[in-house]
Symmetry: C2
Subunit: 331 residues, 2 copies
Amino acid sequence: MTLKDVAALAGVSIATASKALNGRGYVHPQTRERVVEAAKKVSFTPNSLARGLLAGRTGTVGLLTNDLVGRFSIPVLMGAEDAFGTGKMSVLLCDARGDAIRESYHLQALLARRVDGLIVVGSSTDPRPSLGHDLPVPVVYAYGPSQDPRDVSVVPDNVAGAALAIDHLLSLGRRNIAHITGQEGYLAAQDRAAGASKRLAEEGLALAGGRVLYGDWSEAWGRSAASALIEQNPTVDAIFCGNDQIARGAIDAIRDRGLSVPGDVAVIGFDDWQVVTTGSRPQLSSIDMDLETLGRTAAQRLFAAIDGSEGSGVEHLPCRLVVRGSTMDGA
Amino acid sequence: MTLKDVAALAGVSIATASKALNGRGYVHPQTRERVVEAAKKVSFTPNSLARGLLAGRTGTVGLLTNDLVGRFSIPVLMGAEDAFGTGKMSVLLCDARGDAIRESYHLQALLARRVDGLIVVGSSTDPRPSLGHDLPVPVVYAYGPSQDPRDVSVVPDNVAGAALAIDHLLSLGRRNIAHITGQEGYLAAQDRAAGASKRLAEEGLALAGGRVLYGDWSEAWGRSAASALIEQNPTVDAIFCGNDQIARGAIDAIRDRGLSVPGDVAVIGFDDWQVVTTGSRPQLSSIDMDLETLGRTAAQRLFAAIDGSEGSGVEHLPCRLVVRGSTMDGA
DNA sequence: TACAGTTAGGAAAAGCTTTTCGGGCTGTTT
DNA sequence: AAACAGCCCGAAAAGCTTTTCCTAACTGTA
């Protein structure tokens, strides 16, 4: 099953066999045919290890994630795999589970396998420590940026995404817009709140309720916060929520109070997590971070870096508005 | 950054450097110290490619999935990664996206990289075509079994899981138990229905409504099916649902009709998908397929096969009952 | 002093592929 | 007729590590 066997079977030298299979140099068509035939016969597959050893490039990239169970890593990973092209580039996957020691262990293993580059996927959009600059391969940080601005990072633009949500609500004629979101400690929560406030301020408006309602990222919080909000501010006519679960909770609470969504209160979420958005009644509008595009972009940046391009800094990718029943006038 | 550099820096031969770092043969402690020091200094990482080329084993396994976005592959993958041990074994991930051509392409790439073994993760529990037996490495099928009984497969025991759910409902004193589930075409739907019916039959009972309510795996179906069911069979006191989304829809429909869960009707789902089970009111009891254990087991079977063990056939792993508010008496 | 037994370290092969270089050969040009 | 160009193929090196075998030196003993 090695090239030597193929060469022997075809009655040529190893060098000729190699050239025949790779289309290099001068090989008589008839000879080439014999070699190809022999290779097929023994189902020869060139050994990538030997190839990589020689070429210095392995056609493998490492994907270091910290939150595989979470729903953010996977789309990024998909996009990256997509960009690499089927079979051309392979992905070595490691999940550090938020543990720095485990991470450095994985990193070591990846470097030993001579990956051509690394993509680091954060578990949140909070900046994370850089892997450093003395690595022998380029690194791209996706979803969560590196703390070091000299690194290359690709992240979703939460601020603009929030503005998109507010824009949409404004376009529906809503003016009393509240914002319920998750833990204040998350940069994602801060960014989305900032984006929403800024956009409202541009229109001379302020958040209904006077402030951002921080809590946690759960439906339960969405329910209780929305309920209390409506209680205290009956004029609220729209709620922008920090994620889809909160939004779904808000929808349920509003319906429980006998109000209609979106008739009385329009609701929009964030993340566009299908299982949540399509399960609710009415279905939930949301802001999609388009993580697959983000993953693809990260892969492209990595390719560029592998090919010698320099560049650095944090690149913010736009979000997409996905309109469903919870903000649809006709509903 | 190669062993040669380390050896030169430490003033020894390559062979000695190798032995010093790997603890083989006779090396003077002082020499060893010098070598280790030198290796650390240039941050030497042994080239896995060269190592693998020599040893014939690469410490890499291929993970071929068909449904990365789906929620079943990931826990399996996690469990497998877990079993392999951090840094010791690496995982090459490929997503064929249900495309046979893409799959064979990925397979080729994995074999070229000389993986030590393969785990194939199905996108459903329906049997899938075997990769064949002329592969140079062992293969274990996880979640979805191979159609070929000579292969090694590890799958969740849906039949027993359904019986577990029925047992639980019976233990609450419920006797009029209905079953709402997804498309009849899915083996998972059939197995769960069969397990439920069998367990009921053992108690001399039959399904409330007289038949299994097949539909799709959505909340919307759960709502409409549960609503119609209660309408026609007011005596129903429990519903076993084929997945969590259907169950959540059922809960909502029951509450909409002014009945209480679990007071009037107990509801239990399947899959234990946290975002669905913990978001509902009350929180949803469910059957957990424990996919991480499944992944771990698949990895162990693969290890065994790599080490020469034979064995074959489909191994069914038990499910776990997770009790929450929707079947809790006190609630 | 010679020898056996340890101990330390080096030379070289193996593992597989790709690429470079050079040697035959045929046919053509001067 | 001689030289040259073009074509085809093979020998060998490079890429990096591990392991086996071997030599040299040293310790202790007969």
